[in-house]
Amino acid sequence: MRRLLNTIYVTTPDAYLALKGENVLIIKDDETIGRVPLHNLEAICTFGHQGASPALMAACVEQNIAIVFLTSNGRFRARVIGPSNGNVVLRKTQYRISDDEQKSAHIARHFLVGKLYNAKWTLERMTRDHALRIDVEKFKRVSAHLTESMKQLMTIDDLEVLRGVEGNAASAYFSLLDDMILQQKQDFFFKGRNRRPPLDNVNALLSFAYSLLSTEVGAALEGVGLDAYVGFLHRDRPGRMSLALDMMEELRSVYADRFVLSLINLKQVQASDFLKKESGAVLMTDDARKKILQLWKDKKEEKITHPFLKEKISWGLVPHAQALLLARFIRGDIDAYPPFLWK
């Protein structure tokens, strides 16, 4: 497996990125405020409205480094792609599967089983680690529901039906998210999902974490030669990274939700990290974003054992490992797509 390379996040909202020799320069008000060698870089993510020079884009494209432009809230805007993108054979097979409802459903249900499995074990972890703080019985009930839904999913060949079963199970899981917030309850609560814009602190955090995750999953998919825009569960829609969304399903709870919960429960974020706009939209402060990105980076370095590969890898490589496994399945090397099942 590949090494985990570095991603640099540029959070200064009005910095410009340029190329100098083999370095990225971060320039603000005509002054160079940072310099990072391209060597060993995997991606450059920039927040805000900055630009990047065409020379830098060209160098990155050549060296397989993704440049991703995000809004200051972390919403995806654009990614730079080079003139050729690799494996045509693989992509054509991917498109063929995507056009075939039943084949798509077989992959989709593995994404969803992964999603419910990881949601279930997120709940089970809570009952184990914090039995005195939560309503264990309620958690066990939802956990059992998730187990049932997984069994059901495995027998379904129809995308619509899959979505229905998943939808119910997911809302049961989300009904417990607020119960998993064990600290700072007056400032952090969850009454349901809202986005564009997020209307409370927890939703702002979730949106941010999901967008970081989707960017990474998208890059991983493209990195192994798949088309991140052509999905199996999520159907094509202009500008939507459907396959990245598909693959994200199994990682949401275990990667993003757990990350957000630990930020709150370990008091790594506070109410003062958020601003409420007149419109009701909740924004994060620049400092908060910086702090969270650092913690996200730290999380990516933590090691786990991949349940299918049985190899020790860092969390940050999980999207890459799953993308590789999906490519392997599409190529016909393995009998199905093995979701990342965490426990």
Binding site: M1, V113, Y117, P307, L309, F329, I334, D335, A336
Partner: protein
């Protein structure tokens, strides 16, 4: 056997990948999974040679030609010979702008040392077949030159070797036509394979996903 059309030609240099590991060849030549695109490498290789002032050099009875593009429609392969020596020989064939008759001897330069497998020899034999097809003559021998050991190894181009190369070329075309990346027996050679991070040879021997799902969901 029908001849291949030029648009179907595969890279002759792929033979060494194919003999090292058929899967590796497919990953590089069918799926183009290569940090540096093979075609680019071939291109720059050609370029270097074109810049070489000794591209055609004559010493006594030997004419040295470097960077000679060759192909064979029968094999459906195309490539570049590092050096072809044309030795004046009564059994040879006449060449454009030269007097007398010549016998070609392909010489392939290798950076490393002689390998355990046949691949260098096969590549040389493929070049010999190309030369035979292009010049209508017999190419009885070729040479491998190993840079690291500074050794020249003479290779007799036998019918057996040629048949082996024909079989390899045919298999390459079969895989290519089906755009098929074969699963293979993994082994020690995987340790030195530059594509192992995308091939994931361990995966080829893993439990099935069906079993994995069953096992995990049962727990």
């Amino acid at each position: 056997m029908t001849d291949y059309d030029a648009s179907e030609f595969l890279l002759l240099s792929g033979i060494q990948h194919f003999e090292f590991c058929e899967r590796q060849w497919a990953l590089i030549h069918i799926e183009q999974e290569w940090e540096e695109n093979v075609l680019t490498i071939e291109g720059s290789h050609l370029h270097e040679k074109a810049d070489d002032p000794f591209i055609r050099e004559k010493r006594k009875d030997v004419l040295y030609v470097r960077g000679l593009p060759v192909h064979s429609s029968k094999l459906g392969l195309t490539g570049i010979c590092d050096v072809v020596e044309f030795h004046k020989d009564p059994n040879g064939v006449p060449l454009q702008n030269e007097e007398g008759s010549y016998l070609p001897v392909p010489v392939e330069y290798k950076r490393g040392r002689p390998k355990k497998d046949q691949s260098d020899i096969s590549q040389l034999v493929a070049q010999a077949i190309c030369l035979e097809d292009m010049l209508y003559c017999k190419v009885p021998r070729g040479e491998l030159f190993y840079h690291e050991t500074r050794r020249r190894v003479e290779v007799e181009i036998t019918e057996d070797l040629k048949n082996n190369v024909r079989k390899i070329a045919q298999r390459m075309h079969e895989y290519y036509a089906r755009r098929h990346t074969p699963r293979v027996k993994t082994g020690e050679h995987c340790q030195s394979c530059s594509l192992r991070h995308i091939c994931l040879p361990e995966l080829l021997t893993k439990e099935s996903v069906a079993r994995y799902m069953k096992r995990m969901l049962a727990e």
